[in-house]
């Protein structure tokens, strides 16, 4: 990694902090993941970059489905990685599978 790049730690949500985050951001992008999932680990650097690039536009966070099963059940998550996208606290879309940063940025721009 180049010296001028700083790794950003993406906010990690739990079953208890999820709603507050979703309601506290005009747009919220939440990456549902688990450490034993290869494609999820590949999303990590993408989410880190998005967290910086979307600052002021959208709140970016992660949710470990292993540690927070209630959210998975509530939103019917059956595959990871899954991105939950909220606008004004309402779920507007669910993107399943590994996505490129460009895909996600393009999606957010159209919201």
């Amino acid at each position: 990694m180049a010296d001028n790049q700083v790794s950003v730690v993406v906010t990690e949500l739990t079953d208890n902090t999820f709603d507050e985050f979703v309601n506290g951001n005009k747009i919220a992008v939440i990456d549902c993941w688990a450490p034993w999932c290869g494609p999820c680990r590949r999303m990590t650097p993408i989410m880190e970059e998005l967290s910086t690039e979307l600052k002021g536009t959208a709140g970016v966070a992660k949710l470990n489905v292993d540690n927070s099963p209630a959210i998975s059940v509530r939103f019917g998550i059956r595959a990871i990685p899954t991105l939950l996208i909220f606008k004004e606290g309402v779920l507007v879309d669910t993107l399943v599978g590994l996505r490129t940063k460009e895909d996600i940025l393009e999606y957010i721009e159209t919201m």
Binding site: W36, G38, P39, R42, G76, R78, A79, P81, V96
Partner: protein
């Protein structure tokens, strides 16, 4: 088994890497089935020195013979796992055998993931999954159907028996090694002959229809085609693939991990025979040097 260089993949990139590695006097093992190469079913007309249309399978067969004549060994199986092992790497094949080596060349080509049947796209994340390793936990006590004939489906079916109440494995011409099939069967996997035709359901997947008209009730459909994917193998070895599944290399075909090289379609476009062979030569030479401690 011990080797200097293991090449994962038996397409044009892997075979050329083998030829160059063996010519450098490195003890070289090529692992993979030539039938899995994208070149196998293709016709070639834009490759240097070859006039007219040439059948890809003929070229692959000649390439394999050539690699063997230079001293390469060939294991006609899929790789099901890889790991760093001390100062080298440990590569595991379908039969369960490990090959320990100093350098690895990833030349797997690109994996086909999708099956292309109705319902597959609509139910993605609602019962359809391409990663049993990722999603097994969501199917505790549920019924799942595994689709795929290769080693990846066999390994995934066996894994799913630890979570799901019932695991069906749809056999439309299983090509996985017999030992893997036996292990899946012993774990309780029910093998059903048939060709998947359509996935149907309501909010979530409910049924997999087969071409003979039979219906399998399932809460999850796992599509696991071919062998372990290039991305998974790369991650096993500590290399992070790009979001498009390609592996980043430098002009020596080195990846981000020392003594792990990559060549061919797996490094990105253009997916052309000439590029695969060129990179294969570079990767093979450098993998041999690295294994033998040359600078």
């Amino acid at each position: 088994m011990i080797a200097d260089v293991v090449i994962i993949g038996c397409g044009p990139a892997g075979l050329q890497a083998g030829i160059h590695s063996a010519r450098k006097k490195a003890d070289t093992v090529i692992i993979g089935k030539i039938g899995n190469s994208a070149l196998h079913g293709a016709h070639i007309e834009n490759y240097f020195g070859i006039g007219g249309m040439t059948d890809g399978s003929v070229l692959l067969k000649k390439g394999l013979e050539q690699a063997l004549s230079f001293g390469c060994r060939h294991i006609d199986l899929d790789v099901i796992g890889a790991a760093e092992d001390g100062d080298g790497f440990r590569i595991t094949v379908e039969s369960g055998e490990d090959i320990v080596c100093r350098s690895v060349v990833i030349a797997t080509g690109i994996s086909r993931m999708k099956l292309g049947i109705p319902g597959e796209k609509e139910f993605l994340g609602k019962g359809v999954s391409y990663c049993a390793e990722c999603d097994c936990n969501f199917y505790k006590g549920l019924r799942v159907a595994m689709i795929g004939n290769g080693s990846k489906a066999a390994v995934s079916a066996e894994l799913m028996t630890k979570y799901a109440s019932t695991v069906y494995w749809i056999d439309s011409g299983i090509s996985a090694d017999g030992s893997l099939v036996d292990r899946a069967r012993e774990a309780g996997v029910k093998i059903i002959a048939g060709i998947p035709e359509k996935i149907i359901g309501g909010k979530n997947v409910e049924t997999l229809l087969l071409s003979d008209g039979s219906a399998i009730e399932a809460d999850g459909i796992f599509i696991e085609l071919g062998g372990r994917s290039s991305s998974d193998l790369a991650m096993d070895l500590g290399v992070m693939p790009k979001a498009d599944d390609s592996i980043k290399i430098n002009n020596r075909c080195e990846t981000s991990v020392e003594r792990v090289f990559a060549c061919g379609d797996v490094t990105g476009r253009p997916w052309q025979l000439a590029k695969a062979v060129g990179e294969g030569a570079v990767a093979g030479l450098n993998a041999a040097d690295a294994a033998k401690g040359a600078p």
